[in-house]
């Protein structure tokens, strides 16, 4: 059963106000998502109020409260954290405002009670896909050393991408992982690659984010290693810079998912308003891009 929305009782308002509690505005992926949501809201004719939590869970809970205070008819939450966001969802439930959970899964929520649907790309699955790519490419026999360069550990994105990868390769004894933090920063990633290359040999670098790729590639080159040729490079996330670098043959593969969820989101809201049943989850498709298929992706949507 769906949450009983106020709109169905009252006379329909002229505009339907959608609150969007974004977790951060920065990073290519998010910037693309924000732009897409804004554009699509106009297209579908919704009034949109967005807030920016800057990756601060406490602030996000406050943001949602502020959205409730502004009488939003529906609130979309992109949780900074899958668990700690609970008070925000509860506040919405209490205020009788329907919620759509986006991107990060609200793990303790119940479909139909706490949220009307989930639209997300699965970070954990992305990590797994990266692990799978490593195993598929390097086999299960010869030993493989992976240098995993993480985002800022403790943040959901980094954590999920790490866990997915680790869980997948755990079954393969030939894969050894060196994990060091790149803090999402290209220069830190570059430093890490240089320093590790001084002491250890590795066959593939696994990066948690596209933003770190330029640093990683420069770091490899400086250490006298040719990216892709000597050392494979795989990353989650595929902004244009990564696609370019795949074209140049420097990044070997990228696990992607599109940040353009606006269409799905607003058509869901349309359906919700007309009273159609929504599914529990709408997964945004995930893709592995290599030099073979890079051109298609590049031309079609870029992400």
């Amino acid at each position: 059963t769906l949450v009983n929305a106020e709109t169905s009782e009252d006379a329909p308002k002229e505009t339907f106000k959608v609150g969007f509690a974004e977790n951060t505005y920065t990073g290519d992926w998010r910037a693309c998502e924000v732009a897409d949501i804004e554009e699509k809201a106009k297209e579908y004719g919704y009034e949109l109020v967005m807030t920016n939590a800057d990756l601060d869970i406490e602030k996000q809970i406050g943001d949602v409260e502020d959205l409730i205070a502004q009488d939003c008819d529906l609130i979309v939450i992109v949780p900074v954290d899958a668990e700690a966001i609970a008070p925000a969802f509860e506040a919405c439930k209490e205020a009788g405002i329907p919620v759509i959970d986006m991107d990060t899964e609200y793990t303790s929520g119940v479909f139909g009670e706490d949220f009307i649907t989930t639209i997300r790309s699965d970070q954990y699955e992305q990590g797994k896909a990266a692990g799978k790519w490593v195993v598929d490419t390097y086999g299960t026999e010869d030993s493989v050393t992976v240098l995993e360069i993480t985002g800022t550990m403790g943040q959901s994105d980094a954590q999920n991408r790490h866990n997915g990868f680790a869980d997948y390769v755990a079954d393969y004894d030939n894969v050894e992982v060196i994990t060091q933090s790149g803090d999402w920063s290209a220069t830190t990633a570059q430093n890490v690659v240089q320093n590790v290359a001084q002491t250890s040999e590795f066959d593939v670098v696994y990066s948690h984010g596209g933003d770190m790729i330029p640093g990683i590639i420069l770091g490899l080159k400086q250490a006298g290693l040719k990216p892709t040729e000597d050392v494979g490079v795989i990353t989650v996330d595929s902004p244009f810079q990564v696609l370019d670098s795949i074209k140049d043959g420097e990044t070997t593969a990228a696990i992607t998912c599109t940040p353009r969820g606006g269409d799905t989101l607003f058509s869901c809201i349309d359906s919700y308003r007309t009273g159609e049943e929504l599914e529990e989850t709408y997964l945004v498709p995930m893709n592995t891009i290599t030099s073979d298929n890079v051109d298609e992706v590049y031309d079609s949507e870029g992400y």
Binding site: Y25, V34, T51, E58, D66, A69, D81, T107, A158
Partner: protein, 332 residues
């Protein structure tokens, strides 16, 4: 006639300037009303803002003690998530442990900070920056970076976290207000607390006046950490989940709350309750930003930064005016 007029204005100016915090609150409320008065002044909204002020406000209460005492504690931003984790972990076993263990951990860290600063004679900034780093490491190690959710969370803790009066004033807000009232009273009436002002103003003088400087500083540090402990407990008891990175940057917020509340970073000046209002000012600034629709949220930080500058600038001007008025009044 004219004289009376001057006197009353002077008096008003004096009042305002003496409470530069008040100026801050006034400025913020004014901006809020201009942006969206109807929603801004509603009870619900004010209660929300109060709740949002809680976490930082409680941290600010602790840190204000250290600042008044002439030291500082920057480690709270990783200590309070740690205390949250500890609380959740022990809530699997018993609610008493869930409250006691985080406070124990906090007290230990506070003692460690205090000892390094008083006996080790190290500068508080460097000690607590290092402890902050170290505790971040501990947090990551304990959770492997993941969000921690207890499998068998004590229901007593849960209901504590979800307690509220009239569905608007919840437990965090209550603790926020009550703890500030208690602390203000203690600082006003207990010699050991009151001595913090002397120590913060001049350690050398305090020594010569027979104040036990080390003891006073230890007290400030332990209390500050305990506040971080309480904050951690409050945070996790409502959300039921502990997160390692949940405190990053909070020490700066807490310090900002203190400064906005008229507590001087050089020590020895300002009132604890100032930090309370400072936290409200910061929460209001965030609220105001979310209420407006003119500026794209990506500019959030810029606007908040500018607002902070406007507030402190207004305070600085009022202080200057205060100095001016003082001359006027004594002349009459």
């Amino acid at each position: 006639m004219g004289k009376i007029n001057v006197k009353t204005t002077a008096k008003l100016g004096h009042k305002l300037a003496k409470n530069s915090t008040l100026i801050g609150v006034l400025v913020v409320v004014l901006i809020g009303c201009l942006i969206n008065g109807r929603v801004f002044l509603s009870i619900d909204n004010i209660a929300n803002v109060g709740r949002q002020a809680t976490i930082r406000g409680l941290l600010a209460c602790g840190i204000s003690l250290t600042i008044i005492c002439g030291t500082i504690d920057l480690s709270i931003s990783t200590l309070f998530p740690l205390c949250g984790l500890v609380c959740l972990y022990f809530s699997n076993y018993s609610v008493v442990l869930a409250f006691a263990m985080p406070l124990l951990v906090a007290g230990t860290i506070g003692t460690l900070n205090g000892l390094l600063i008083t006996k080790g004679k190290l500068h508080p900034w460097i000690v607590t920056i290092a402890v902050q780093l170290g505790l971040n490491g501990v947090n990551l190690m304990l959770t492997q970076g993941n969000t921690y959710k207890p499998s068998n969370m004590s229901s007593a803790l849960k209901s504590f976290g979800n307690f509220s009066v009239l569905k608007t004033i919840d437990i965090e807000l209550i603790c926020f207000v009550v703890l500030y009232v208690i602390m203000s009273r203690l600082v006003k009436s207990k010699p050991a607390f009151r001595s913090m002002y002397a120590v913060g103003a001049s350690e050398e003088s305090a020594v010569m006046m027979g104040v036990n400087v080390n003891k006073t500083k230890m007290l400030a540090h332990i209390l500050c950490s305990l506040f971080a402990g309480i904050t951690g407990i409050l945070q996790v008891s409502s959300s039921g989940a502990g997160k390692v990175t949940s405190g990053s940057g909070y020490e700066m917020y807490a310090i900002a709350a203190c400064v906005l509340g008229g507590i001087h970073l050089a020590g020895g000046r300002g009132k604890i309750i100032g930090a309370f209002w400072g936290a409200w000012i910061l929460a209001f600034l965030n609220n105001i930003f979310n209420m407006q629709q003119y500026v794209n949220p990506i500019w959030y930080q810029v606007v908040v930064g500018l607002l902070v500058i406007i507030v402190v600038f207004a305070q600085a001007l009022s202080n200057k005016m205060h100095a001016g008025f003082k001359k006027e009044t004594t002349r009459i």
